[in-house]
Symmetry: C2
Subunit: 429 residues, 2 copies
């Protein structure tokens, strides 16, 4: 592992202002190091995450401060690793997306306890990735990076390109050289460097790790590598928003997609923080993980009762979830079991059906990942695992316009000549 | 003209609750008729628009009521033809989209007075059409319609399909039968009837007018035909939001795209209302209209000093603006001249350049219509027509994901092998 990726106390960055973030703490051994652009523990190589000091907060003051904040993730600045004046800086400002009361979908699925869709297609580049990239960007600014980078095959590339453009960073995004033209355009339009790597996604990732350890990578913030501890915290805002939009209430059940598993673990972390801060009542909630059958390592491990996850080679239309070796898989298993949730998967046909179901009932056109969560919700209800009498929140993390191919079979319901006789013949009257 | 399209006092619908909407008034002769699903004056066939009774409002009470309202267009319910409890009803709830302070773009264009982009790609189906459809839907509900319909070649079809799905209406959208597959999918996914008409867009429109006058069309609300007076009012919310987001200030200059011209005229109406209600200071503002050169009937008329608009056959990549015979063209000319604005057009190459400029500087990926407004802004500054020392708001009314073809030439900036030597050779370090 390259030197830069491991925390070093010789470079403590003690002057770093990242608000309530106090240190980086190892998720495995608890070892703490100062805040910096590092992601792996120097003691045990476990993942580092942000440790906070929230001790000074008064619950009602904090609630008022949040409610008076901007209509984006920075309303939660007191709970994030960002400076207090973050909202004044140029960034893509994602979040505060709609929590849609999905009464029509509830009717179809037989949910009587209240069903909600947290619709993150409303973010600036139309996926939840804007949340994590916005967060990584602020860390990059504090650490003095001038280039924002990532490896990607889709949503992340656009989010990085857009945020870097707004904030005046150089961006350099690495993708497999043979990506579909549509995805290339979506990433290239923001005008940053877009570099095709001759190889597959694993080759791209390996190259990025190499670059971080090399002088050539100096000044480069890789949002999902050396900035990962900060980046990952962006997902906490989903938990905060859901609870605030429910009137500072915890939902009883949440259905969350699993790619690396990071999002699910951070949603759990966010809910725990709200409880500890007194912003919501301390009561149980269940978190359900959703995967595609064609990339279901966590679901398979859950069903087998395993604590570790066996890697898979992905083969699914849900490409934004297609991580065969999810880093946070074991943590996801722990959370699903601890909260009384579960992990389930659906196949490609069920994903497409669920995309259409959500669109038909709620007018929300979801990415394939949204088809996964809605499809899994349906399956969990049918199997008696998810309780339809409880308040349930289902995440849609992306936009159907980015995965049009999945529903390419959808088309005209009739073709007629431009006259009333033809209209009547078609049975449309 | 069919009987239903002309207001009849024999069916006064006196029990209609559309909030402050008091009547329909003819824009040409001023003749007033009761609220109903009609759009043309029975006296002169002029267009009907909503007349309001705002006499009971106290300015500061109204301001507080708006500011305490939901983060969507219904915060302005007191100024719209909707019942007071509109926010409780199922609808797509568009609006309250971001007003982005575009400092990077301002730098490139030399604007020193403050440049903002009102980014309506943040709406539920990613275009401003959600605003007008949401409004039409509420009128349809009040009038007892059960089917929501329209003729469309793009954004409108999706907006109608999505809103109808959410609100539990049947939808039936008419499109030319040979529309591109991608556009068909975007409209079809919501599960309503999607009917291809064997003919061009004019044939589709003609058929819809025929259907409205026929018993087969009973119970059908065509958002942009028999519900047009209500539908069109949705565009006022753009004016309200811009002013509120500026801190209840009028911008000095606005650059607005022209398709039918309705949006521009309603933005002017909205600004005038805010002035009369005392919500903003009474000061001059200039409205500039933006067209594509390949469909520039209003721009041509403006430059020739004409009061009437000569129809054109559209040929431009800005398809969402490609209305060759814009109904509100004369009103647009009047507003541009009265306010000291102008109407200008840009060609397809300039549109593409402007899409890339906006993406590169602000991380906003605009539809071709957004390329038109940004491109026209640049041209107006270069020509000394738009004053760069004044506060300027440019509208982006749609999303680049819907018009990917326009920037299909955008691609990789480099292709390398997955190693550092190749990276250095490419000059990326």
């Amino acid at each position: 592992m390259a030197a830069q990726t491991v925390a070093s106390t010789s470079n403590p960055l003690t002057s770093v202002d990242l608000g309530p973030a106090a240190a980086l703490a190892c998720r495995e051994c608890g070892h703490r190091v100062p805040l910096g652009p590092v992601f792996a523990c120097e003691e045990c190589f476990g993942p580092l995450e942000i440790a906070y000091d929230f001790s000074a907060y008064d619950t009602e003051d904090l609630r008022k401060r949040i409610e008076a904040g901007p209509a984006n993730i920075w309303r939660y600045a007191p709970l994030l690793p960002v400076p207090a004046d973050v909202a004044e800086k140029p960034n893509i400002n994602p979040g505060w997306t709609k929590l849609v009361k999905a009464d029509n979908l509830a009717g179809e699925l037989g949910v009587t306890g209240g069903l909600y869709v947290k619709d993150d297609s409303g973010n600036p580049t139309h996926s939840f990735k804007d949340r994590v990239v916005a967060q990584a960007l602020e860390a990059a600014r504090v650490f003095g990076f001038t280039t924002l980078s990532c490896s990607s095959t889709g949503n992340l590339a656009g989010a990085v390109g857009a945020a870097a453009a707004r904030a005046g960073f150089r961006s350099c995004v690495f993708i497999p050289h043979d990506l579909e033209q549509g995805k290339v355009v979506m990433a290239a339009v923001y005008g940053g460097e877009l570099v095709g790597i001759e190889g597959n996604y694993d080759d791209v990732n390996r190259f990025c790790s190499e670059l971080i350890g090399d002088p050539a990578g100096e000044g480069w913030g890789f949002v999902n590598v050396n900035l990962r501890p900060y980046y990952a915290e962006g997902s906490k805002t989903l938990a905060y928003e859901i609870c605030e939009q429910l009137g500072w209430r915890l939902p009883d059940q949440l259905v969350v997609p699993i790619a690396s598993g990071s999002q699910l673990t951070k949603i759990d972390k966010g809910l725990q923080e709200l409880i500890k801060l007194g912003l919501v009542e301390d009561k149980p909630y269940k978190i359900f993980g959703a995967q595609a059958e064609g990339c279901s390592p966590v679901s398979v491990a859950y069903k087998a009762g395993h604590d570790v996850v066996r890697p898979q080679k992905p083969d699914t239309i849900a490409k934004s979830l297609a991580i065969g070796n999810p880093a946070d898989g074991p943590y996801v298993l722990d959370i699903a079991r601890r909260t009384g949730g579960a992990v389930e998967d659906v196949n490609d046909e069920q994903i497409v059906d669920a995309i259409k179901l959500l669109a038909r009932t709620e007018g929300i056109f979801a990415e394939t990942a949204g088809g996964v969560t809605v499809g899994v919700t349906r399956k969990l209800i049918e199997n008696g695992v998810l309780d339809p009498t409880l308040t349930t929140v289902v995440l849609n993390t992306g936009d159907g316009l980015k995965t049009l191919d999945a529903v390419a079979g959808t088309g005209l319901t009739a073709t007629i000549r431009p006259n009333l006789d033809s209209f009547r013949e078609a049975g449309l009257a």
